[in-house]
């Protein structure tokens, strides 16, 4: 065997963006993927038959507007690096859709899973949602797709949750360190989806110190059964690597072996790098482990040099807690239709207000959301958003599956909105048309 051959053809978009940082001493800085690159190169990954490297392309302003409402506009919120990260993910999934490869992994930065629909600034190092921009572009190109996004970043994927909150064709599952102990402080079991998609937003908050055992238990006993029932056309992994035991920002005990096994079990079509800031002791091994697992190669020797099994044995209480948690969530999932009845019976619309804090930029936003509960589609909805920087905007969202009535209503709201807003946006996902005034 002169060259190792991958069992699965794997496409890699490896774009460390060595010339971009949030600012020079920020965790999200130039060398974040430097040591990963060293490890990937030294491991000879580029010579493995069946693994191909692809360059990213730039996502366009329209690709961003398909998902986000940038205030005041797309160019003033983004740097080229954001467009390259999103474009890199698009390339990765496109190669899978075109069957050039079986799977793909986009190692791009900065991350995106904290970016919600409204973008007044950056949150948790994220400005635009890489996976959502990727997925919506791919849906635009290849037609309707039933998709599961499994977010394995240590932080709750609150941005992705917001974007797919009311979308029954996109099952969002986030596995993260319990929001009572970590940013962004959300991601509880009760956050179960909007009226149009109740039960299709699943949060699995794990206690600190959860290790490989607990994590893989969740995959085997909760995530995989749900996926088997949901039967997605595509599985996307938001592959955050900050559950690693050496990560400076979190308190979990996940290892490179754990990450590799997770990808082996989950078997996603595309993985997109999210967070992960143990750039020296964690990322290099975790990324190599994930690459080998996705390619169907032997990852059993990818072990951090400082790993000691005894150090990371999971306490018994945690194991038991996780087993109970999985049971509760699985019951919720099974009962989702009944629970939806209970929640929304007899209503023709649903309203909620919430505050969103942009920690990276120090902006506070107040949102009032209104979802129409429509018997024919997931329902037109609006967001009235006011930031403490003075901007107040109205966003009208016509979902992909909107019925003609909801389309008309969306345009009517957009036309008739009063002038108290600094800007009014219309996102017509049926016709892929995005307006602002």
């Amino acid at each position: 065997m002169r060259t190792i051959k991958a069992k699965n053809k794997l496409g890699l978009v490896f774009f460390p963006a060595f010339d971009w940082a949030i600012h020079p001493t920020h965790s999200e800085r130039e060398e974040r993927l430097l040591y990963t690159q060293d490890q990937v190169f030294e491991e000879g990954i580029e010579d493995i038959a069946g693994i191909r490297f692809y360059n990213p392309v730039m996502a366009t302003e329209k690709d961003v507007s398909r998902v986000h409402f940038c205030v005041p506009d797309v160019p003033s919120r983004l740097t080229q690096s954001h467009l390259v990260a999103a474009g890199g993910a698009i390339v990765a999934l496109q190669k899978v859709m075109e069957k050039e490869v079986d799977k793909a992994f986009a190692l791009v930065r900065p991350p995106g899973h904290h970016a919600q629909r409204i973008v007044h600034g950056s949150r948790g190092f994220c400005t635009i949602n890489t996976e959502a921009i990727m997925l919506e572009k791919i849906r635009q190109m290849y037609g309707p797709l039933r998709v599961a996004i499994v977010d394995t970043d240590c932080h709750h994927g609150d941005g992705t949750q917001d974007i797919y909150w009311n979308d029954p064709d996109t099952l969002f599952i986030s596995i993260h360190q319990d929001g009572r102990t970590l940013y962004p402080g959300s991601g509880f079991v009760e956050e179960f989806g909007g009226p149009g998609a109740y039960g299709y937003n699943i949060n699995i908050p794990l206690p600190p110190e959860t290790g490989d055992e607990g994590y893989l238990y969740v995959i085997d006993n909760l995530v995989l059964p749900i996926l088997a029932e949901y039967k997605p056309d595509l599985i996307i992994n938001s592959a955050g690597q900050d559950n690693h035991y050496s990560d400076p920002l979190t308190r979990m005990n996940f290892t490179a072996q754990g990450y590799a096994k997770l990808n082996d079990k989950l078997n996603p079509h595309v993985a997109v790098l999210e967070g992960g800031y143990s750039i020296e002791g964690g990322l290099p091994y975790v990324n190599v482990g994930i690459i080998l697992a996705l390619a169907g190669l032997d990852y059993s020797h990818v072990v951090e040099p400082d790993y000691r099994e005894e150090r990371f044995r999971q306490p018994k209480e945690i194991t038991e807690y996780i087993a109970r948690l999985c049971e509760v969530i699985y019951t919720y999932w099974k009962e989702r239709d009944r629970l939806k009845e209970e929640h929304y019976k007899g209503l023709d619309h649903f309203e909620r207000t919430r505050r969103v804090y942009y920690d990276t930029d120090g902006i506070l936003e107040n949102q009032a959301e209104r979802f129409k509960i429509c018997p024919h589609c997931s329902g037109v909805n609006t967001i009235d958003s006011r930031s403490d920087q003075g901007a107040q905007i109205l966003a009208v969202i016509i979902p992909r599956d909107a019925c003609p009535d909801c389309v008309d209503e969306g345009y009517k709201v957009y036309r008739e909105a009063t002038s108290r807003y600094s800007k009014i946006y219309l996102q017509d996902r049926v016709n892929d048309c995005f307006l602002a005034k």
């Binding site: 065997m1 002169r2 060259t3 190792i4 490896f14 774009f15 460390p16 963006a17 060595f18 010339d19 971009w20 040591y35 690159q37 060293d38 490890q39 190169f41 030294e42 491991e43 000879g44 580029e46 010579d47 490297f53 692809y54 360059n55 990213p56 730039m58 080229q80 690096s81 390259v84 020296e280 290099p284 091994y285 190599v288 080998l292 190669l297 032997d298 059993s300 020797h301 990818v302 072990v303 951090e304 040099p305 400082d306």
Partner: protein, 500 residues
């Protein structure tokens, strides 16, 4: 005066250059059974009547190492390999004895786990028992910290003076390639030393004192002493010689496509702003992917003597050659026959008649006249070349980049001119010019391009400088430099240091 000699698979070409003028050339067939004798016979004939004291250097491009590898005559090697965490590479294609040892150095060059000296001792005993002569030692990330390789070499040195250390061959990060490169280096070191020894002796006997340089695959040269240490760098220097010859004969500062059209194959090269394009990591030989720096060249089975067939109404040219062109008594029609019929290549009555006959046989299957067929053949040949070149360019221009600057504004190779050499070069130049819509030149003296290339080659060396400011450490593995630096070490200082 400079002597340039290129040893190819079939022929050895040699020239004497004086102030850029060719003053003598010799061509002789290569005797694969005795490579040294073949070279020596050419040199002896070449230097008859030449004032030996005026020779300033002798540049050789030899296939000594290449042949040993390709013909599987290389020595078995005793390998000591430290894999660390990662893929469990077995390196089955390295013949000899392989010993995998514990210990690990990480990506920043920090020793995470030390050597176990008992394992080295055991390996040494095994090599002795198996009568191994050459050894290779490679550890993961040795380019970042060679201390394990160096310590092992020290332990082996007395019994195994021919021990290659991985980090001395390349500073690039690619562990499997470093293992293969070190293996090949060790495997050919005996063969190359014998050759170099014979050469030195014969030169001394003949009273030639000029220094000898050996051509490398990257188009540079190294002196004999360096070649002793790194014989693997002498592999596949032939294409480099012809490229250098081409550049020497028609220099340019543009992006260019360079073609060497032979009887069986065509070699394709590119220049970016007049400078050769290199293989990104290293050359591949007999399936071994190495870190030997090399000029990028791709050989396709399409030449003047390629066999032409008509299959279901489409023309197939090559990749086989079944003999000389039909016009010269060969068994099948070839592109050369097409060139003769279309008048692009001059030929006398009888040859022309045979060429026409060849085209007629093909043309009958397509309902074409001999002239029509010749046209079609040349068109097909031009299209094949164009398609191949375009796909290579696409691949080269899509090579991975890692910064936004490079992604958005990085160099893309777009040839502005074609330079072509080889037997049918002159005849196909107008065709190429039309197909690629580019000016196409073919230099005179192209027959000895390789030897000229060898003569024009200069000493080159590659270094990899890594400055790790957080750890306060600088390394240049190829030169064995590992020293302390301050945290404020800048890119400018690094550049200055590298050029020293």
């Amino acid at each position: 005066m400079i002597v340039g000699l290129d040893m190819g698979g079939t022929n050895i070409d040699a020239i004497v250059l004086d102030q850029g003028q060719i003053i003598k050339t010799v061509k002789k067939p290569t005797d694969r059974e005795n490579l040294f004798q073949s070279i020596w016979a050419v040199l002896e004939e070449l230097l008859v009547g030449i004032d030996k004291r005026k020779i300033s250097r002798i540049n050789l491009s030899t296939t000594v190492s290449t042949n040993a590898i390709v013909e599987k005559k290389a020595d078995p090697v005793g390998m000591i390999v430290q894999r660390g965490p990662g893929l469990p590479y077995e390196f089955q294609s390295c013949t000899g004895e392989k010993v995998f040892i514990s210990g690990y150095i990480d990506h920043r060059g920090q020793v995470v786990k030390d050597l176990d000296l008992r394992e080295i001792k055991k390996a040494k005993d095994l090599f002795k028992e198996k009568h191994i002569k050459a050894c290779a030692v490679v550890t993961k990330f040795s380019a970042r910290n060679p201390s394990h390789e160096q310590r092992i070499k020290k332990l082996l040195d007395k019994e195994f003076p021919l021990t290659t250390m991985g980090h001395t061959l390349s500073g690039k990060l690619n562990f499997p390639r470093r293992v293969y490169t070190a293996y090949l280096n060790a495997a050919v070191s005996n063969t190359f030393q014998n050759f170099a020894g014979s050469l030195k002796k014969s030169l001394a006997r003949a009273g030639i004192q000029a220094p000898v340089y050996i051509l490398k695959a990257d188009g540079g040269t190294m002196n004999l002493a360096t070649a002793h240490e790194k014989p693997v760098e002498t592999i596949l220097s032939g294409p480099a010689a012809s490229l250098l010859g081409l550049i020497g004969m028609c220099p340019t500062e543009q992006d260019a496509l360079l073609l060497d059209i032979g009887g069986t194959t065509t070699d394709i090269f590119f220049l970016a702003d007049g400078v050769p394009v290199f293989e990104p990591l290293g050359i591949e030989i007999s399936g071994y992917k190495t870190l030997v720096r090399a000029i990028y060249s791709v050989s396709i089975g399409l030449g003047g003597d390629s066999r032409i067939r008509v299959d279901n109404g489409t023309i197939q040219i090559g990749p086989q050659r079944e003999g000389p062109p039909y016009a010269f008594g060969g068994p099948t029609p070839t592109p050369t026959d097409g060139l003769i019929v279309s008048g692009l290549m001059k030929a006398n009555g009888e040859t022309l008649a045979k060429a026409r006959q060849g085209m007629e046989v093909l043309g009958r299957q397509l309902g074409l006249s001999p002239e029509g067929m010749a046209d079609k053949v040349l068109n097909a040949m031009g299209d094949m070349l164009k398609n191949k070149v375009e796909s290579l360019l696409q691949e080269l221009n899509e090579k991975p980049v890692y910064t936004i600057e490079e992604l958005l504004y990085g160099k893309r190779i777009r040839p502005q001119v074609i330079h072509v050499i080889g037997g049918p070069a002159k005849a196909v130049a107008p065709l190429l010019s039309r197909k690629f819509n580019l000016p196409c030149h073919c230099p005179a003296n192209y027959q000895v391009a390789n030897a000229i290339g060898a003569a024009l080659a200069r000493i080159t060396t590659e270094i990899t400088l890594l400055a790790d400011t957080a750890r306060g450490f600088l390394s240049v593995p190829e030169l064995g430099i590992y020293e302390k630096i301050g945290r404020s070490f800048t890119l400018e200082q690094a550049r200055e240091k590298a050029l020293k």
